[in-house]
């Protein structure tokens, strides 16, 4: 059986660091509660940036401010060089948006919806191409009212990229999608990226962030607490590996920075070590500790050999 690794990421090596989105000191309050509280964010042209954070951390609010549909209470925002509050139609035409809502008339079929909204763009992707890209071929003639939640989500994604946008905002795009659809969506995003589009997405699926993003930003309490490529996020935490095996019917565990040494010790004896695994904290573990949720990440080496 053959396994393939994810393709290398050329984005990190690109030298043009032109920003598609630039945010400084963004503040948004509801009542007297600051939902966004001094947020700084740079999204470079051509990269896929994933914004992670708990429900209510201010991700959606931030994206809505970037889209120009919500007014900030403070700070400076530039999207494609334009202040979103003043962005005109020409500016908007360069954006693609997949919001959390569903905005397609229930009485129309998938194809009718796409055909209709095609007229809102100068150059739209052909309807059939979009339908194939999100895997709705079998549902093309079905009315929206009869689609399942995941299928509607796919249509929203298709609508979001219909106008060949330069910058795409995706707010939890894959919620409710099945794993096959999700992978299809990943292909779609890789395709957009390959064409030079910039993508800013939020997601609760960390495997998705790891798979797609050049850089990941974690929002907690209205601020960006860390930004890094997904495999480097929380580098300190990740250094600790967990070696587990079964001995005398009980599971033993050692947490260490140098698993290879532990392994050598373990395997120095004759025979096999049953149930041997070596794991490093996942992106999810790192994320949970960054946003201050209880997680399983060890803070110090513990446990002993024998």
């Amino acid at each position: 059986m053959t396994t393939t690794q994810a393709a290398p990421r050329p984005g990190a090596t690109a030298t043009q660091r032109e920003t598609a989105v630039r945010v400084r000191g963004l503040v948004k309050r509801y009542g007297n509660r600051a939902v966004v509280d001094g947020l700084d964010l740079d999204v470079f042209r051509g990269e896929v940036f994933a914004l992670l954070g708990p429900n209510g951390a201010g991700k959606t609010t931030t994206i809505e401010i970037l889209e120009g549909v919500r007014k900030p209470d403070g700070g400076e925002v530039r999207v494609l060089g334009v202040d979103p509050a003043r962005g005109g139609r020409a500016w908007r035409a360069r954006l693609g948006v997949v919001s959390q809502g569903e905005g397609a008339p229930q009485e129309l079929s998938v194809r009718e919806v796409l055909d209709h909204f095609a007229g809102y763009h100068v150059t739209s992707r052909p309807t059939e191409e979009l339908i194939a890209a999100v895997g709705l071929e079998e549902k093309a003639g079905t009315r929206i009212a009869r689609l399942s939640g995941g299928q509607r989500r796919r249509l929203e994604v298709a609508l979001g990229v219909q106008g060949r946008p330069e910058l795409v905002f995706l707010d939890e795009p894959t919620t409710g999608m099945d794993p096959v659809a999700r992978r299809q969506f990943w292909e779609l995003i890789r395709g957009l990226r390959a064409d030079g589009a910039t993508v800013l997405l939020t997601t609760h699926y960390l495997d998705e962030a790891a798979e797609l993003a050049d850089r990941v930003g974690v929002i907690a309490d209205g601020r960006l607490v860390e930004v890094a490529p997904p495999d480097q996020l929380g580098a300190d935490l990740r250094r600790l590996a967990r070696v587990r095996w079964t001995e005398d019917g009980a599971v033993r565990e050692v947490r260490t920075e140098s698993p290879a040494a532990v392994l050598r010790d373990l395997l120095s004896g004759p025979g096999d070590v049953p149930g041997l695994t070596v794991t490093r904290p996942s992106l999810e573990d790192v994320y949970l500790s960054l946003v201050g949720a209880p997680s399983t990440v060890p803070t110090a080496p513990e446990g002993d050999l024998r």
Binding site: G101, G103, A104, P105, A132
Partner: protein, 280 residues
């Protein structure tokens, strides 16, 4: 099944987005398609004026209105106006409130749709459905109740401009009231209650001159009164004008008020239109 979208040329300097007029045209098509797919909506929009005409003609058919005008003649003008109000004001107010609640307007906003194109789509749909509704009502009134049709081209023209302006003013009023706060269901109820009260105030069911003056003055602020009066001028003989409040048909003023509703109302609506539900 893995489908990657083929590369489009990397466009930085893209051409300008489609004009508001082009989008408006598309909206009209869409609105009509949606309207006719909602079967109940179609049936009741077209049935209501007809049912009301039949009932009122039966109940009060023997009565006469000021100026010896038979009741049915007088009432056709009122019910035609009410029908126009129903397909414009009431239908538009309700549908916008619903579209706002279920997020359809949010998508339009994100696409950068000019509000005026959205309104134009609604207005186009209203004009088509109004025409269909009147095409059903007028022959019925004429052949079943002997209501005379406008006698000459000039009266038909009056009928046409009054109907068009009235429908457009009703659309604007519908856009305006859709902005009321609350759920779509409560907005719908509020709109219906308002529409019914407005019908009474505007002299649809009773002779307008019989109403107390405060009602007349209130009604004069809204399009329905003028719409009804304009309709009377198209259907009733010239002598009946003497029994209007002003003693004449007041065509100038009717045009002025309705046009003001359309133009000022549209400008105000474009400026204040909310695509989203208010927070909280």
């Amino acid at each position: 099944m893995t489908a990657v979208l083929p590369s489009p040329p990397a466009v930085r300097d893209r051409p300008a987005p489609p004009s508001a007029a082009r989008i408006a045209l598309r909206r009209v098509g869409l609105e009509l398609k949606l309207f006719f797919r909602e079967r109940q909506q179609v049936v009741f929009s077209f049935a209501y004026p007809v049912i009301m005409l039949v009932i009122f003609a039966a109940v009060l058919g023997g009565d006469e209105r000021p100026g010896d005008v038979p009741f049915t003649h007088y009432f056709l003008a009122g019910i035609a106006a009410t029908g126009i109000m129903l397909t414009s004001f009431q239908a538009i107010g309700t549908s916008i409130a619903t579209e706002r609640e279920n997020g359809q307007l949010e998508r339009l906003q994100l696409l950068g749709t000019p509000p005026v194109a959205y309104f134009a789509g609604k207005a186009g749909q209203v004009l088509v459905t109004t025409a269909a509704q009147l095409a059903l009502l007028l022959p019925l009134a004429h052949y079943a109740y002997d209501v005379p049709m406008p006698p000459d081209v000039q009266h038909w023209l009056t009928f046409a401009w009054v109907a068009v302006l009235g429908a457009l003013a009703g659309t604007v009023l519908g856009v305006a009231v859709s902005a009321l706060r609350g759920s779509a269901a409560s907005v719908t109820t509020g709109i219906s209650a308002f529409a019914i009260v407005l019908q009474f105030f505007s002299g649809v069911f009773f002779g307008f001159t019989e109403l107390p003056s405060w009602m007349q003055q209130t009604a004069a602020l809204f399009p329905l009164k003028w719409l009804t009066q304009g309709m009377r001028s198209a259907f009733l003989p010239e002598e009946a004008a003497a029994f209007e409040v002003a003693g004449s048909w007041e065509h100038g003023r009717t045009a002025l008020v309705l046009a003001a509703w359309v133009i000022i109302g549209a400008v105000v609506c474009v400026r204040t239109f909310r695509w989203r539900r208010a927070d909280g």
